[in-house]
């Protein structure tokens, strides 16, 4: 296993998986940036949108992309982020329309939550909606090895 840690997020990945944790520099004076975590069982392109643009277009039917995007801590107190703790996705949670960009065959799911006073959204893209039951254990394995300080 390989471990990646940055910005209070730790990911341990299995062989064949790739994890990147980054934080972009702000381009506006008032803008605040936070950690963005991408974990995938396929090679991640160097240039990616925070919710996987540039990567999702490359996904095959057995590929999985897990995205964890952080928000400002004030968001943790709001209704949208009221859920506590890292979610555990279920097969029924996935839908071909639950995607930032709905590409044919793919499936997705999204959850907002807070943990330790920090606000996040978890976004998961599966390469095949038909194979969601088979791919979900891989998502669980990723989340089982993901910790947030």
């Amino acid at each position: 296993m390989t471990s990646v840690r940055a910005h209070g997020v730790t990911v341990r990945t299995m062989d064949g998986w790739e994890a990147r944790i980054s934080r972009r520099p702000p381009t506006e004076p008032e803008e605040r940036t936070h950690s963005v975590t991408h974990i995938a069982n396929f090679p991640l392109p160097a240039r990616r949108g925070d919710f996987g643009s540039g990567a999702v277009e490359r996904m095959g039917r057995d590929d999985v992309l897990v995205v964890l995007v952080e928000f400002d801590s004030d968001s943790a107190k709001t209704a949208l982020f009221a859920r506590r703790g890292l979610p555990r996705p279920r097969v029924v949670d996935f839908d071909p329309r639950k995607l930032q960009r709905t590409l044919p065959g793919q499936s997705g799911g999204q959850w907002f939550f807070n943990t330790g006073g920090r606000a996040f959204t978890l976004y998961v893209v599966l390469g095949s909606h038909h194979r969601r039951a088979r791919l979900l254990p891989q998502v669980h394995a990723v989340l089982d090895h993901l910790t947030i300080d």
């Binding site: 940036t33 936070h34 919710f51 329309r97 709905t102």
Partner: protein, 469 residues
């Protein structure tokens, strides 16, 4: 530089195959396409018209349509929806090389969300999933992608899908209820639609400096386009104009509507030379133009002042002068040569296209107009208000007489030989006859008469002789 070279080459190719008019139109589209899509346009098969919409503009591409495409050209969330989150694309040519912002609009749920989800069932959305079919190249999905960026209106935890996307060159936290936590997706940098600007122009730069959707103009309601003179863009609360000669200026509300009604940049006022400004009285607004102005006040409306009336009104002190706000536009007299305009407390008129312009206050103005104005027996005004010779009341002289007013005698017109005699032989208001208590009126077929405080003057039209009776 590369873009310029490619546009030049594309233009050259087109020129060899088209008429000059068609050629120029096509070059404009090619230029827009290059600005929006850059190399994508050159290297991808497809038309320049399609390239105006940027990459991923088909329904199958999986992206969401821009709100202006489905919302009557308005670059704002449709009724019944709210901003659910935003992201940006850095280094966007359509925002002058700075960040371009995308704000997702979501329908409010008409019922609640189930446990563990932030999205309600489709039956509760209030919008119907479809591909944009407004006949433009923005054929992206509408009300389809069940996803939320999450920085806006975080008190709303349950929503429908992304209905459409609003575009801005100003950060959304400056003009709507969003946090400053950013997300970035440079892959969407070129996403565009024909209802949005297709290049970075002085007009777009001014709109951003004003705060874009947070400005007094609000959201855009059209793309920027060529007017009869200069360029124009419509917004929810007004319009903005640009020309090299006059700069970039905006018009708001009733003034913008009236300017459009009277021919806009192709009308008599020419292009605006100022923004809409508040008047010193705090009750109205104004705009100046190359050839006049428009003044507005609630209850009176917006009215245009054209030359030479506008300059003459300015010489009276405008709103601090005796006339007050204009209550009509500057209009031609019936002869098609002279001009007149009504104001709150009187009016202004001129016999020629270039003046001189004279003003009269009520009730003299009203009486002069009732007596036919310049087409009546009095003819054109020849003076501004003058004190009467008895120092009670005022009068305006005309080509063939006068209209005089005083509290005791009212307001009356005196003209022709009767006026000449009253003026020369009797010393007008301060003379032996005093002020008129009637207009000149026909006594019978051959005699006119006018009654004064101390007697009457009668004209025998057969001899032209005026007698005191």
């Amino acid at each position: 530089m590369l873009t310029t070279t490619l546009v030049d080459k594309a233009a050259g190719w087109l020129e060899r195959r088209t008429s000059r008019r068609t050629f120029l139109q096509r070059v404009a589209v090619v230029g827009s396409a290059m600005t929006v899509s850059g190399l994508d346009y050159v290297l991808r098969p497809g038309t320049a018209y399609a390239s105006v919409c940027g990459s991923g503009s088909t329904c199958a591409s999986g992206w969401t349509a821009l709100c202006c495409t489905i919302n009557h050209g308005r670059n704002q969330c449709p009724p019944g929806s709210f901003a659910g989150g935003w992201w940006k694309a850095d280094g966007a040519g359509l925002c002058g090389g700075k960040a371009r912002y995308y704000i997702d609009c979501h329908p409010r749920c008409q019922c609640g969300c189930g446990s563990g989800t932030h999205f309600c069932a489709q039956s509760c959305w209030g919008c119907t999933p479809h591909c944009a079919h407004e006949g433009t190249c923005d054929e992206r999905r509408v009300c389809h992608n069940v996803f939320r960026y999450g920085q806006c209106n975080q008190h709303i935890s349950c929503s429908g899908p992304v209905w459409c996307r609003v575009i801005s060159c100003t950060p959304p936290w400056k003009w709507t209820n969003c946090s400053t936590s950013s997300a970035t997706d440079d892959y969407t940098r070129s996403h565009n639609a024909p209802c949005l600007p297709t290049s970075w122009t002085p007009l777009q730069a001014r709109y951003r400096r004003m705060g874009s959707q947070g400005s007094v103009l609000g959201a855009s309601a059209s793309t920027e386009y060529a007017a009869t003179r200069g360029r124009v863009q419509r917004f929810m609360h007004g319009r903005m104009y640009h020309s090299a000669a006059t700069g970039t200026h905006y018009l708001l509300g009733a003034i913008a509507n009236h300017y459009a009604h009277i021919g806009e940049t192709g009308g008599p006022l020419g292009l605006p030379t100022t923004d809409t400004q508040e008047n010193a009285d705090g009750a109205g607004t104004r705009n100046f133009f190359q050839h006049g102005a428009i003044y507005y006040r609630s209850g009176i409306g917006a009215h245009a002042l054209r030359e030479p009336v506008f300059s003459a009104w300015s010489a009276t002190g405008r709103l601090t002068g005796p006339l007050g706000y204009p209550t009509t536009d500057t209009r031609h007299e019936a002869d098609g040569i002279g001009w007149r305009q009504r104001f709150e407390h009187g009016g202004m008129a001129t016999a020629t296209a270039s003046g001189p312009v004279f003003y009269a206050l009520d009730p003299i103005w009203t009486t002069w107009r009732k007596l036919g104005g310049p087409a009546g027996p009095l003819g054109h005004l020849t003076t501004e208000p003058q004190p009467n010779t008895n120092e009670i009341g005022t009068h305006n002289d005309c080509e063939h007489g006068t209209v005089t007013t005083s509290p005791a005698t009212g307001t009356h017109g005196v003209w022709g030989p009767i006026f000449d005699s009253w003026s020369t032989d009797y010393g007008r208001e301060g003379g032996r006859l005093g002020s008129p208590i009637t207009d000149v009126y026909a006594l019978d077929d051959t005699h006119d008469r006018c009654d004064f405080q101390q007697g009457s003057l009668e004209l025998d039209k057969s001899t032209g002789k005026v007698s005191r009776v």
